[in-house]
């Protein structure tokens, strides 16, 4: 780890200004991923701008019945928030399925969205990685990729996004508020994370010196139910092999609204638009769910050792929808 300067920002505007003034600066939230990566030499900022004490630590109702989540709200606080538990259970469950109690107490909402991949080659600076060092190559395609992407990957990168929380946010149509040198803008969570394409170095569409200030959840109509399911290598404290966040509203046996997002499959939380299209207006039932999910996963291009993820994702999604149907 190289020496770095440290600044505790007094305001969002100051944080952004200082970042713009100092190339190589990074915002520090909980630090659970950034400090980890600094120790690995993957990140080596010259300046850390500590934004963890900015007054962005509130969860408040929006006027239209949605929820506004400050970027520095800790994962455990967000998971425990009564409004999240009652109105957006998929989000609470996703948070609680991730990491450990200690990490959730420290990690922030904004930082969780900005987590970087757990690809073993990305984490090892002695090896090539197009994400870490553009143009150096991707050994994972032929190497260790059992835990990596099956859909939406490119020849340049097969990394997966590790967050559970982001998967739920994607299914819940959350919006990210960003503040940067050019002011404020909003990006849907589903558009926030990128596919690798020919430039895997950027995980997200965040611009230089922009910071996440809030995440906003839109209201869900009466009768909407949601949940999060995750499969992993041990019973707790492990990243997802695959996961699904499902949101469903059924009226008189017909699917009025369905949103599905997969974790562990792709470079970003994979919002299953094709499946949703097939589900909308269709009669609720296992056969419909299976064909809709299969339509989505037809686009999967598993690698040598991770085809099981496609099966796993299919089962998780179909079962999640079936479980929600009994509640809807």
């Amino acid at each position: 780890m190289k020496p770095f300067a440290y600044l505790r920002a007094a305001s969002v505007a100051e944080a952004v200004r200082e970042s713009a003034a100092r190339p190589g600066a990074r915002f520090l939230g909980g630090g659970t991923n950034l400090v980890d990566l600094m120790k690995l030499g993957v990140e080596s900022p010259g300046l850390l701008i500590d934004v963890s004490r900015l007054p962005l630590d509130r969860v408040t109702d929006t006027a239209d019945g949605g929820l506004r989540i400050g970027a520095t709200v800790r994962n455990s606080d967000l998971a425990a928030h009564p409004a999240v538990r009652t109105r957006y259970p998929a989000l609470s469950q996703a948070l609680l399925a991730g990491a450990s109690g200690q990490l959730r107490n420290t990690a922030t909402t904004g930082g969780n969205l900005l987590q970087r991949t757990r690809c073993p080659y990305f984490q090892d600076t002695s090896k090539p990685c197009n994400k870490r060092e553009p143009g150096s190559g991707c050994p994972a395609r032929e190497g260790a990729h059992r835990d990596l992407a099956v859909i939406g990957h490119s020849t340049e990168c097969v990394a997966t996004h590790p967050s559970d929380m982001a998967v739920a946010l994607a299914a819940l149509d959350a919006v990210v508020l960003l503040y940067g040198p050019d002011g404020e803008r909003t990006v849907a969570v589903t558009e926030f994370h990128r596919l690798p394409g020919d430039d895997p170095s950027a995980d997200t569409v965040i611009r230089p010196d922009e910071m996440i200030t809030e995440v906003v959840l839109p209201p869900l109509p009466e009768g909407t139910v949601s949940l999060y399911r995750k499969a992993r290598d041990r019973a707790s404290f492990a990243f997802a092999l695959a996961s699904v966040a499902a949101v469903l509203r059924v009226r008189e046996g017909r699917i009025e609204h369905a949103a599905l997002a997969f974790g562990g499959l792709a470079h970003r939380p994979w919002r299953a638009r094709t499946a949703e299209e097939a589900l909308r207006g269709a009669p609720a039932g296992d056969a419909v769910y299976l064909s809709a999910v299969d339509a989505e996963l037809a686009a999967a291009r598993p690698l040598r050792d991770n085809a099981f993820k496609v099966t796993l994702a299919r089962h998780l999604a179909v079962d999640a929808l079936a479980a929600l149907t009994t509640r809807a």
Partner: protein, 188 residues
């Protein structure tokens, strides 16, 4: 349940020139003002600068829980906390749990249940266990909490809850069953 402000006594203007800062940490009730390299973690501050080696370094990456301490009453992996960012924080380590030479009830329970073997993960287990007791009391749910459970009020800590909540603390000796029992003893 509303998140509390993270404002702290040590909060002040944050500009720090160079790569070192002077900061104050309240450790086990005593203020320590230190000038530290920004790279220094809370764990290394405790172990190398203050001689408090109770918090252990098992992985240094937040993957084992041996370094768990309580920060402002909540458990955290001290290996991932930069000391400079914790200026003003109130930190409790395993050395600070006993009061007036009386062990904390959870320390007593660990002894009673023989909930340790090599002892290296134990300080982290105990600090984490104390965090778990507080979190359950404060109504924080876990992955093991039924989605239909009430969203306010304390969570009852049965064995499944304890196992899930303690999964951030690895024990290679396999003392888990007794650790769960010890925490259960204090919870009930």
């Amino acid at each position: 349940m509303e998140p509390t402000s993270r404002g702290r006594s040590g909060e002040g203007e944050g500009r720090a020139a160079g790569d070192r800062s002077t900061l104050t940490l309240n450790i086990n009730g005593t203020d320590h003002t230190l000038t530290l390299d920004h790279r220094t973690t809370v764990l290394d501050t405790l172990r190398l600068h203050l001689g408090l080696t109770g918090a252990k370094k098992g992985c240094d990456h937040g993957q084992c829980g041996a370094c768990t301490v309580l920060v402002d009453g909540r458990r955290a992996n001290s290996c991932l906390l930069l000391a400079v960012a914790q200026d003003g924080a109130r930190i409790t380590t395993v050395e600070g749990l006993a009061a007036d030479d009386r062990l904390h009830p959870l320390q007593e329970a660990f002894l009673e249940r023989d909930a340790l073997q090599c002892g290296y993960c134990t300080p982290g287990q105990i600090c984490s266990g104390i965090g778990v007791l507080g979190e359950a009391q404060d109504g924080f749910p876990s992955h093991a909490t039924a989605p239909t459970a009430p969203v306010t009020g304390p969570v009852a800590l049965d064995a499944a809850e304890i196992r899930e909540r303690m999964s951030g603390n690895l024990c290679r000796c396999g003392a888990y069953p007794r650790i769960v029992e010890a925490i259960g003893d204090v919870a009930s």
